[in-house]
């Protein structure tokens, strides 16, 4: 099962990121993982949050452009070589990764992947015995 990531458009200027985080703080939304893509004139924030629907709604109300993006999340053990093991599955299956980011839990690490055909990639990886995390599983981390 893919999980929903919230992607938000930001202008590349001081204060825009903190405006975003203050909106989320005000509405008690917890950011679980975050990555930022930046160019010279704009940026895109990609986040996993505890409540994607609430997050998207409040961001829209505050005039942000935000949308869901399906991403794949995998748990790996927090030790040397485990990411390499995981990525071998992707390369064997010729799945192109648009971007990825990570966050570490107490004992495991979590990898978030954006691929171009989420459903297809997921079924190929599942067939190889690699099970992605559901929204619920991710919330419990």
């Amino acid at each position: 099962m893919s999980v929903n990531q919230v992607s938000v458009f930001l202008e590349n200027k001081p204060g825009t990121l903190s405006k975003l985080t203050s909106v989320l703080a005000k509405h008690n939304i917890n950011i679980r993982a975050l990555s930022l893509a930046d160019t010279n004139d704009f940026g895109i924030v990609r986040m996993l949050v505890n409540d994607v629907y609430e997050a998207t709604n409040v961001l829209k109300e505050e005039n942000f452009v935000a949308k869901f993006t399906p991403v794949l999340a995998y748990k790996i053990s927090d030790e040397t070589g485990s990411l390499d093991e995981l990525l071998k599955f992707f390369s064997e299956s010729e799945i192109n990764i648009e971007y990825m980011y990570a966050f570490a839990g107490k004992k495991d690490a979590y990898m978030i992947f954006r691929v171009n055909d989420t459903k297809k990639s997921e079924s190929i990886l599942t067939a190889k015995g690699l099970k992605s995390l559901t929204q619920e599983e991710l919330s419990e981390v």
């Binding site: 992607s7 458009f9 202008e11 825009t16 160019t39 005039n63 942000f64 452009v65 949308k67």
Partner: protein, 433 residues
């Protein structure tokens, strides 16, 4: 010593000019009535026939033409002669997707080129000069107009066109060019570029600059004169009426003489259309007396200025217009190119963006900068950086092809563009002209 291309007419007493205008106007109104159904209908709506126009005193009775009429009559609706007699078109931007197309017979081109020749000689040019024309050639009237004028005067003409600064400088230096014709902002840029390459004013062969197609200040004139070591003269015109040379500066450099034997100028109240007395500021309106292919009567230029008949020390008697002080519509002139906000709106909507935008024009080192802030919309947003940049590039290309100049697009967050009383502020012009 003051030089004239056609001294007799340029120094004719006012009564003589009026006599010429009366005679030509009566003929021109008849020509338009007979050949342009679009304008004939406009006259009929006012219960006018050519018989009602006996002299310039009756001019105010005639209906106006505006850019909207040109759009409505596009492309051939205002053409007043057979296509077999037309030899060329020139074109400028319209208010939306369609452009203004103006037609010329060979006689029209000759008349127009003579106007430019008057401008070159008024600036001191002779057949011994080497004249580099660095206006754009092609649909734009700048290159063709000054090129033709330069030929009439008998200058050695360098049809350089715009761009390629190194080549521009090479020709100026190697061929010892003495006259430069281009937009003032390009003259300033060329001046800076020559300075950077170590050419001091005493080493630069140029003596005269004829600069037009955009607004420029007295400060900018002094800057350009100093860096290039020249005297810089303003020239005015518009494609609809012919092109550059409708009016030009003389040695006095105080206002531009309008070629009154070819064009009648009026100043009107832009709101009521009422003709205003000499010296009052208002919208400039032109009637083309000699053009056969595209003879516009009472064409509203939207340029705001004043006219004066004060005696000029150069000896010319033709009325002078001041530099246009602004516009009575929302047209911007950026790097010499006419830009209407409505054109930008069209391109934005065609490309899936909302019509929320803001144009920011500034002048840095005497060159116009042109930025457009565009609000990001949910439709245009993806979480893929490359995709957003690709869409932005498509938008930039679309604008370039619509406007003819490049704009820098800045994607901004929604609802960030200043709104006052619910109405967006579309244009911020920071240029001090």
């Amino acid at each position: 010593m003051e030089r004239y291309y056609q001294e007799e007419i340029e120094r004719a007493p006012l009564e003589k000019i009026r006599e010429i205008q009366n005679e030509k106007l009566v003929k021109q109104v008849k020509h338009v009535w007979d050949n342009v159904e679009y304008y004939r209908k406009k006259m009929q709506e006012k219960n006018l026939t050519p018989d009602d126009i006996k002299s310039v005193d009756d001019l105010h009775k005639l209906p106006f033409l505006s850019k909207a009429d040109l759009k409505e009559a596009y492309p051939y609706g205002l053409l007043a002669c057979d296509l077999k007699d037309c030899v060329r078109i020139h074109s400028t931007s319209g208010t939306t997707g369609k452009r203004v197309v103006a037609f010329y017979t060979q006689e029209d081109i000759d008349m127009w080129n003579e106007c430019c020749a008057r401008a070159i000689m008024a600036a001191g040019g002779t057949n011994e000069d080497v004249c580099q024309v660095s206006y754009g050639y092609g649909l734009f009237t700048g290159g063709a107009g000054l090129d033709g004028g330069s030929h009439k005067v008998g200058c050695l003409t360098i049809p350089q066109g715009s761009g390629n600064t190194d080549r521009q400088i090479m020709f100026i230096m190697d061929l010892q060019a003495t006259i430069l014709c281009c937009t003032p902002s390009y003259a300033a840029y060329l001046g800076e570029s020559m300075k950077e390459r170590g050419y001091t004013p005493d080493k630069i062969p140029l003596k005269i600059g004829i600069f037009g197609a955009e607004a420029w200040s007295e400060e900018m004139r002094r800057d350009i004169e100093k860096t290039l070591g020249i005297k810089a003269y303003d020239i005015y015109g518009l494609t609809e009426i012919s092109g550059p040379g409708v009016a030009f500066e003389c040695s006095e450099q105080r206002g531009m003489h309008i070629n009154e034997d070819h064009f009648i100028a009026e100043i009107i109240d832009p709101d009521t259309g009422e003709v205003l007395p000499e010296g009052t500021q208002g919208e400039l309106v032109f009637t083309s007396l000699d053009k056969k292919a595209f003879p516009l009567l009472r064409y509203r230029t939207r340029d705001i200025c004043t006219l004066t008949r004060e005696k000029c020390s150069c000896g010319r008697t033709h009325v002078r217009m001041c530099k246009p002080k602004g516009r009575s519509d929302d047209m911007l002139i950026i790097r010499g190119v006419n830009v209407f906000p409505s054109q930008i709106e069209t391109v934005l909507l065609n490309n899936g963006y909302a019509a929320n935008y803001q144009i920011i024009v500034d002048r840095v080192n005497n060159t116009d900068t042109f930025d457009i802030n565009v609000e990001m919309t949910p439709d245009m947003f993806t979480d893929n950086v490359g995709e957003i940049q690709a869409r932005k590039k498509v938008l930039e290309d679309g604008l370039k092809s619509m406007l003819g100049i490049k704009a820098k697009i800045n994607l901004v967050a929604p609802k960030t563009i200043t709104r006052s009383e619910g109405k967006a502020v579309r244009v911020i012009d920071k240029r001090k002209i």
